[in-house]
Amino acid sequence: MDARHNRGTRYVRTSFPLTPIVICIIAAVPGENFGHAAQEPSDPTETTLSSAIATQSEYFETHIRPALHQHCLACHNENKPNGGLALDSRKGWTKGGDSGSAIVPGKPDESLLIRTIRHMEPGLEMPAKVPKLDEGEIAKFHRWIEQGAFDPRETPEPIRFGERSSESEAQWESIAAQRAKWWCWQPLPTLPIASEIDVYGSQAIDAWIGRKLSEQGILPSPKADRRTLIRRLSFQLRGIPPSPNEVDDFLNDCSPDAWQRLIDSMLSTDEFAEHWARHWLDTVRYAETHGSEDDAYLPFAYRYRDYIVRAFRNDIPIDRLILENLAGDLVEPRWNESDGINESLIGLGFYRFVEFNQTPVDVKREEIVVIDSQIEAIGKAFQGITISCARCHDHKFDPISDEDYYAIYGILRSTRTGLPIIDRPFPFAQTEETLSKLQQRARSIAAIDWERDIASWPSEIEQSIREVQSHWTPDTKWEELEKRVSTDRWTKAIGKWVCNPRDSKLAPLGRLLIASDSKEFKRQTIALEQAIRSDIAPLELPPETTKLLFDLTSPRGVNNTAESHPLDDWRIQGFGLPTAPLGTATRWSILGSAADPFSLLLEPGYHSNLYSDRASGSLRSPDFIVDGEAISILCRGTGNARVRLVMENFQGDSLLFDTVNPNLNSNSYQWVTMTIRPQWRGLRAHLEFLTRDAKPYIGIVKDPNGLNASDGRSSFGVAKAIMHSRGLRLQAPNAIPLELVVSDPRSTSAWIESIVRISSAAIGRMEKEAPHPTDASWLNTLISNGLLRGNLDSSPERKQLVDEYRVVESQFPVPRRSPGVYEDDLALNQEWLSRGDHKQPRAPVARRYLNVLGSKDSDYPSSQSGRLVLAREIVAPNNPLTARVYVNRVWNWLFGEGIVRTVDNFGRMGESPSHPELLDQLAVEFMKNGWSNKQLLRAILSSETWQRSTMESPIAHEKDPGNRLWSHASVRRINAESIRDTMLFVAGNLKRPDSGLGTANYYRQVFEPNKQSPPGPIDGNGRRSLYLEVRRNFPNEFLLAFDFPRPSAPVGKRSSTIVPTQSLALMNDPFVIHQSKRWAERVVRESPSDATRINAMYQSLLNRSPTPEELASAEQLIQQLSASNAPELAWTTLAHAMFNLKESIFVR
């Protein structure tokens, strides 16, 4: 390199003036210039003076401009001149920075730029914070300056920060191409990696490790003894120590495959699956709440935890697991035969482990927070790269552009938050037919029943009118009237109507029935007509203030075209929901727990409970832009069903958002009005109707046990929605048919006759299934006023019918759900956001994955989010990252360090692998073995390398102090969970087997009683730490002290700190004391003498016998304490002391 330098200077000494011609040439053929980028500089001895200018510019374009872009300009440009220095134009570096001029043309050794990149200026090592440039690149800068630092850039050049230009695009391509040379982007080789190492599995590990050690002249440490090995293995695989029996068996097993069998037996345990599931949960930032002010609860998050445990137990291929995490709803289901659930769907919980503010003023910003967390997790967890660094600008070190970022963003934006049902689909079709028939029978029975009822109405009504007339005055309250009149149904109905004019729209009808003069007749008739017509009024409002969003009562549907199916652009998720609105038909809903199963006839519109209110799911409207001041929806619901306005995927429902997330608990249609805040105008939104259990977001839940108590009964119905200006008063439809208004309003008998006639006709039409639009609501009105009977005891036929109905309905499962997402066949490209600012959207970016990995937007279907394609690209065998990242994680979990030490970052800011060939070999073999985690573990654990002792040889200490060459094993502190679980294990309190809802953490200080769940039991009910709740705002203090990771981002490698808080926890934490006591009790119960007890304690906690010295000192402690204290205290204290031994938490 130096030689080439010297030769170069002989020929090219002076700088050459810039000529416009050169610029043109360069500008015209940028591709050609950049095409040379990868080549070594041409030999300068071949350069002639006549081509010197072209050579100079070519040299700049080939070597210097790309290097400036790659390493310098992000921090040294006109807009952001760090240290006052801009390198994006000749003028910039001529002027220099705070530390003086950067470049002295012709004098590289005096140029600060060279001194800084050579790390000769303390504190100014450049490029900042990344490894030093390689010598070749430094030499190029050197040569460029030596030759006069030719620089054609008169004005600051665009650097793709902010706006785009074709020039900056081309530059980015060139930079990205340079950066894509970093090791992690290179394709995986095929086996064997090297001809001289053509062994596989554990042998390959030892061969590759051995090769480097011998190169350094380091002898590896010998194998650890068997007692050490089984203890190390048990903690690494199961997170608890081996039992004394296991140790004995292994020590006595002289067969050659004893070690293999030990590995296999541990790999087959639940404890293994649990311990390794937690590794996975670290990397996907698993948490059960959403943080922020409310720390809102994520329902059924624990199902994801249990799913990962099962996956590790059953050795589900890792590529499959990743596929399920990213697109479990779009791949062939993986059925869990014993539980009857689709495991794949549970993987989608991955998307839901996000923190977001539940009451933001700016919801689009919150969508960015959520999706950014998802992108960060996809990048770090599965790819070992930091994609989310490219949100505001192209990545500063890796070949990832901000366009890549928004291309992925679009995929996630097109994905809807949900709570998918994980059960096997219930064979609903047959049931549907049976239920339909039963509903038909119900109509006949009711019709006969009611016709009989109606026959006696005229006399009843007349009698009731007289009664009310004689007791009522305009200021009579119903409570008073009720005492004076009989309990006849019509008396009660009319009495209520006339006493409560505000509450009942039937007041005019009541008033006119009891009217005694023609003036009152006329007045109330007008009022009645007005009331009837007001129902229709909203849709007759001027279009400039009111816009119909949809009308599901119209056969023409929302698109207003006769051809389209009314729900064409709608999405139904769930179980047992009808596929279409009811149209104008009337149907019975035989209600669940109500004493009046016949109390509801479904009115035109869409109803989730067309067949049963145990149907569970959601109905989602097409997207629209919120541009009104309010949205009103004519809908109904039972059992805390909900309608919610989802804006830009925002999920929260508290404080600012309660008005757009109302619960529905009215069985008859009501207008529900949502007030639109000014800051929401212009947002993309949809309306979503949900039965109670289908809500993907449930706010503050202090005790999640209640979630499972549901009987599954909840329903919603929806007719139409309008967007309108504020101040519009919408009347709940009063459900009085207009025909009721008689031609001669002055005669009471005419009204009675009309009521009877209209009702009878409605019943007749209902029975024949040919109702008029208002029939159902009128009959519902009569039922709800007690004028027609909806109850069971009214006839034996009814009871029998309902019983039959219940039998069929009882086959419906109460669906189990898991947090996840839905695919909505809706593809939205996200606009590229200038500098990451959502208030500066630019052109949409077509959905795809990373350009550097060859992803093409043309592979992403326009009718789907593209998640499936994304997932497949990530697990594709030719993806250079996925397998490498996973095997490296496993290596890290087993050794305490990865082959790439920065396990979550393989990019330029991370480290290169210490043993690249080994990493590649493990990755390729891993894929060849079907991405089997257990196979990979067997290979590593069988290697000599893993089984080495922790003793370090002096030469290794000298030559490789960081043990990067793996000459010996490292002493490691067991993780937080293992510390806690081991105490439960040896004390005999560990709950086995385990799964399900997490147990609340034990707290001594309750900081926020309104939001914090009540403290759980001190011992967590004996559950492994895995099964304790992970609440973002209130983490478990004990586990946190021992570096349990926070769920804010993927953590592939936990930090391992040693702080006094840990000593205090082991000395004084109530949990430790509690377990010490339990352990002491157990030991005293199970062993007869001091010596046997002490021995048992050593065996179970430390997997060895005490030395005579230790035995003596333990006995002495017991005697000393027994002298002045109760014997229990002595043993408890010894147990407590044992838990404080370093040997119990540090494993060799």
Partner: protein
């Protein structure tokens, strides 16, 4: 790559207790990362000259900081930012454009119900709400042009505490501890004196996030009736504990001796052993710290620890405890508000600014004034910074009739103590007190300035995590030089 610190070196650091102990783990982490500059304070120009762990980027003006968190967001126009025009416009429609507010119940212009007057030699103008504090006007540096980004409590609190609106970044106090450590091996470097109300978002506001666990705040609950610090109370009688720890010590020594090799991991075992000495010392230091028996009655009277107002008396004890912590070398102390005025965020007066702010100011006025005076009398004020701030301010227009909504666009805070220009007022809001318009100070600027006073360059205090160098101020932050003495 730098060599791993020798075992003896580590032991020396460990023996030095709480703060320096962290160093060993940091260095280890750096070495594991293969980078010696992971800790900003030891990188750069002075990297090799400055003793690691005590490294300052420049001479420090102060050694300690006390953060008086005014939970909920005091109203600037009712405290430190007089707006006569607003008073004149009172009851009329607010004349300027209004950003989205949280509750969207924006009323008319709302002049302050409180009287403003100049105080001290400097003539610093303050409202009547702080009769004690105003006597120390010449010690205060008011910043009237603070600006935050978030108008909801949780994000604003997290932003104030960690420079980021959501969880996952270390808090200011953690960064300070990471940069400087503590001077008292028996006490933590970062203490939150919990008055009963944590900032909205909970204890994660004080999180060390990815910084080593030692830098997490220790929450003192001196007044809630429980343990002052979690796990500080010996589980056994001290004599029993001593016997137990003797047994443990003997055993641990054997464990270490047995495996005496050169393995790096053994160093951690030894550090863990040393931690027990620190922990035992802490068990004694904390009760001594919270026992105010050695304070004079004059001191008690100054703070008002026996005030008839129980809330004020409690806040007075919190302030007194803060002084005792600072005296003992604790780097960063935050005092949170007392519970009683409200169940959350007491300054969050949406309904009635006049009544609410009177109550809030009364609770804190005398104790805080006493804290300043007391520190001054003991010569500690010049090495201590006090920061009085909420997560945002309040709207100059009414919410409903008599309340005010959140306003991050412009609000007032004050600084006092070492390196600070006293009797000075920095920046300005518009004439209605709505938006900061002159010498705007962002949260990052405030953080940068606090770090600067402690001898830390905010751009160089970094920690590499997950492939990125993180700093408290992210890519932002400018020193507010005008406020510096």
């Amino acid at each position: 790559m730098k060599n791993i610190p020798s075992r003896r070196e580590i032991l020396q650091h460990s023996a030095n207790g709480f703060g320096l102990l962290a160093l060993s783990s940091i260095l280890a982490e750096s070495v594991r990362l293969g980078r010696s500059e992971a800790r900003g304070a030891t990188d750069g120009k002075q990297g090799d000259q400055v003793p690691p762990g005590t490294g300052l980027h420049h001479p420090a003006k102060i050694k300690n900081a006390i953060f008086l968190f005014m939970d909920g967001g005091p109203s600037q126009v009712d405290t430190f930012d007089p707006k006569p025009l607003l008073l004149k416009e009172h009851g009329k429609p607010f004349p300027a454009s209004i950003d989205a507010t949280q509750f969207d119940q924006n009323g008319t212009s709302f002049g302050s119900p409180f009287q403003f007057a100049p105080y001290g030699q400097s003539g610093l103008i303050m409202s009547e709400l702080f009769p004690h504090l105003s006597k120390l006007a010449d010690d205060l540096c008011i910043i009237r042009s603070m600006k935050s980004e978030f108008s909801e409590h949780s994000q604003a609190c997290m932003f104030l505490h960690s420079g980021n609106p959501i969880q996952g970044r270390p808090s200011l106090g953690s960064w300070v501890g990471y940069g400087l450590g503590t001077e008292n091996k028996n006490l933590p470097e970062y203490v939150v004196i919990n008055g009963g109300l944590l900032p909205i978002g909970g204890p994660e506001n004080f999180s060390n996030a990815f910084l080593p666990a030692i830098h997490q705040a220790t929450i003192f609950d001196a007044f809630g009736g429980g343990e002052t610090v979690s796990n500080i109370t010996p589980a056994e009688p001290l004599s029993v504990q001593r016997a137990m720890l003797d047994f443990v010590r003997q055993h641990d020594r054997r464990f270490l001796a047995e495996s005496e090799g050169l393995s790096t991991g053994e160093q951690w075992v030894e550090s863990a052993i040393k931690n027990y000495e620190t922990a035992s010392a802490m068990q004694l230091a904390v009760p001594d710290l919270v026992d105010f028996g050695d304070e004079t009655s004059e001191t008690h009277a100054l703070y008002g620890t026996s005030s008839n107002d129980p809330l004020q008396a409690q806040y007075a004890r919190q302030c007194l405890l803060a002084r005792r912590l600072v005296e003992r070398g604790v780097r960063f102390v935050e005092i949170t508000c007392v519970k009683g005025i409200r169940f959350i965020a007491p300054w969050d007066d949406h309904d009635n600014i006049e009544a609410g702010h009177r109550k809030n100011a009364k609770v804190v006025d005398q104790p805080i004034a006493a804290l300043i005076a007391d520190l001054k009398a003991r010569g500690l004020l010049e090495s201590t910074l006090l920061v009085f701030a909420g997560e945002f301010g309040r709207t100059p227009f009414a919410q409903g009739g008599k309340g005010r909504d959140h306003n991050p666009q412009g609000f007032s805070i004050w600084l006092s103590g070492g390196g600070i220009k006293g009797g000075y007022c920095h920046g300005a809001t518009d004439e209605f007190g709505y938006r900061a318009v002159e010498n705007v100070v962002t949260m990052h600027d405030l953080h940068a300035t606090i770090l600067h006073l402690l001898g830390i360059d905010h751009e160089r205090l970094t920690f590499r995590w997950g492939g990125r160098d993180f700093r408290l101020t992210d890519v932002h932050g400018n020193l507010v030089r005008d406020c510096l003495a």
